[in-house]
Amino acid sequence: MSTAPSTPAPTVKPSGSPVAIRCRAVTKTYGAGQSAVRALRGVDLDVHQGELMMLVGPSGCGKTTLISVIAGVLDRDGGECVVLGDDFATMRPNDVTRFRARNVGFVFQSFNLIPTLSIAENVAVPLLINGVPRAQAVSRAKDMLALVGLGDRVNDVPNRLSGGQQQRVAISRGLVHHPRLLVCDEPTSALDHATGQRVMELLRGVALDRDLSLVVVTHDARIFEFADRIAEMDDGRIERITTGQGHRVAESIHGGARGVNGK
């Protein structure tokens, strides 16, 4: 799987960019007593600004739990997790919610686009949550959709789009409010190979353009090449972190082969 020699968890990205996410000895247990499931057993992980970090591993290894803790949608039980300089454990729930609204973008496996809204309205949702007036939010959403090649479909409802197009809408929604962290859960698992590649090219390009941090949970080995680093998880722990080819892919993308307009 790895494309480079295994390395211990580094504290800085080779490029020297600052750490955006710092997790130390993070634990999380579901349930109690004999039925308790220890989903995270002391995770150490750093993700840098502008880095695309992939979390990989078998089902049930704790990837989704870790991404949930990092995104602030799930409380950890122990350890330390500082995201963009803030520790959710010391914040009030409403402040965590507001933090997510401002700083975190989400891309989901099954897109989670609201089927009764047009794609422009779907993309405008994070802006509306942040209090942007409706007209301005929809206008910015349309601009964002134009960037991902869906400028002519802004009034369509999600069900009229292909899977790849829907995921591009979801990516637009995740980025429209300029978050500093984008978390993606299996962003290509519902897509064919070619579409998955194009979606990852889009994500990869955005990460570089905006200097935000991407954490991508995936099973899809075909997209590992887009990662800067790959954290392999098993049984609630990070077993090893390997360096990916993301920087090379990025150079290729910025070399003019972005190709995000196809399905």
Partner: protein, 386 residues
């Protein structure tokens, strides 16, 4: 975000119409059954409504409602007239007398005997003839509904339509001759018998011979007189019961509420409407929320606070409530309008509209509470579960 909430609601047409249907059904049943109940109860005091002149009704203290006649001695009238603050007092006879029709059939009538001199207590509106014509020999005035239905003359040909009584026709009241000199328009009353007006002295000749025939004393207060004070004074002086017009209406309604099964029957219908409406609305709204739970979770993960989500659900609930209420009240009103020329009792005061709106509001709040609880307790991490 509120516009998003409305679009989520409006564009899920099946659920939207289902919820609207539930609220509409509840609103319509509550309003319609309530309006019929109020209409019926209003009819119980229709004779009091029709007699606009008197401020105060004086009667035997055992009288429970307008049709419960317990005659007084004639001297009671003079005692009441002597009470300080009474501008005038008039006798009124009210009783049930059998009329014999032209075809030999008998029909019970409510006979109202008005004071000979002033004709106080006459019908509210004359459709034919004049009230003063009652001073003619054997004169009676018949209400229009009675004249065209129960007192109508037989058809000229077999199978034809009965012919309404008209001015100039005659009838027999307890073997005494009555000549119709007028047709009046009365408020429909709870009793189905026709109403026949005549003078007090003539009514006492129609009535079966009894020692006492004075049924009510109608009193008008002197200007500026406190009516309740005057009622108390009349009761003290005469030993009789005295009520203001509104008090007597309410006493009559109370009698029917306490002594008939009418409120229970309508209460059951209204309660059923409320319960069925709540169940349908609650189920459909909850189902709508559950269907959208993934999206509420997504909004929550993306940073929508509980307050925002609560506002969205409350808005959705209130909007369907408002639309359903409007449709329900509209349908009930249409029903009332279409039945305006029938015998159906239907009265839709603003208080009933308010009560119906309150019931719909409760239905919406109950429905929303289920959904709100579901959404507020939702873990945003659910969005990462495929």
């Amino acid at each position: 975000m509120l516009s998003i909430a409305l679009k989520m609601l409006f564009r899920d047409k099946a659920k939207y119409f289902g919820i609207i249907m539930g609220v509409t059904l509840a609103s319509m049943v509550i309003t319609q059954q309530g309006a019929i109940f109020i209409g019926l109860m209003s009819r119980t005091f229709a004779p009091i409504t029709d007699m606009g002149n008197p401020d105060i009704w004086v009667m035997d203290s055992k009288v429970q409602f307008i049709d419960d006649t317990k005659p007084l001695q004639d001297t009671a009238l003079f005692r009441v007239r002597g009470v300080e603050g009474v501008a005038w007092a008039a006798p009124l006879y009210k009783g049930f007398i059998r009329a014999r029709m032209a075809d030999g059939q008998f029909q019970n009538c409510t006979v109202v005997g008005l004071e000979d001199a002033t004709l106080t207590g006459g019908p509210p509106l004359m459709l034919a003839g004049r009230l003063e014509d009652l001073r003619q020999a054997d004169a009676v005035i018949v209400d229009a509904i009675g004249a065209s239905t129960r007192l109508a003359k037989p058809p000229l040909q077999p199978g034809g339509a009965p012919r309404p009584l008209v001015v100039g026709d005659t009838m027999e009241l307890n073997d005494k001759r009555g000549v119709v000199v007028g047709i009046s328009q009365n408020t429909r009353s709870f009793q189905s018998q026709p109403t026949v007006y005549t003078t007090y002295s003539r009514a006492t000749t129609y009535a079966p011979r009894e020692r006492k025939l004075l049924t009510f004393i109608l009193v008008n207060a002197q200007p500026g007189e406190d009516l309740q004070e005057l009622c108390n004074r009349i009761s003290r002086v005469s030993g009789l019961a005295a009520y203001t017009r509104d008090q007597f209406k309410w006493k009559t309604v109370t009698y029917f509420i306490e002594n008939t099964g009418i409120p229970i029957n309508f209460g059951i219908a209204v309660t059923l409407g409320f319960v069925i409406g709540t169940v349908i609305t609650g189920f459909m709204f909850y189902s709508f929320t559950v269907d959208n739970l993934r999206y509420f979770g997504t909004l929550k993960a993306m940073g929508a606070t509980d307050r925002v989500l609560l506002s969205m659900i409350m808005l959705q609930s209130l909007v369907v409530g408002g639309i359903g209420y409007g449709l329900g009240v509209g349908l009930a009103s249409f029903f009332g309008y279409m039945s305006r020329h029938t015998a159906l009792a239907f009265r839709l005061p603003w208080q009933l509209l308010f009560a119906s709106a309150s019931a719909v509001l409760i239905i919406c709040l109950l429905s929303a509470m289920l959904s709100i609880r579901k959404v507020i307790t939702l873990e945003p991490a659910i969005v990462f579960k495929g």
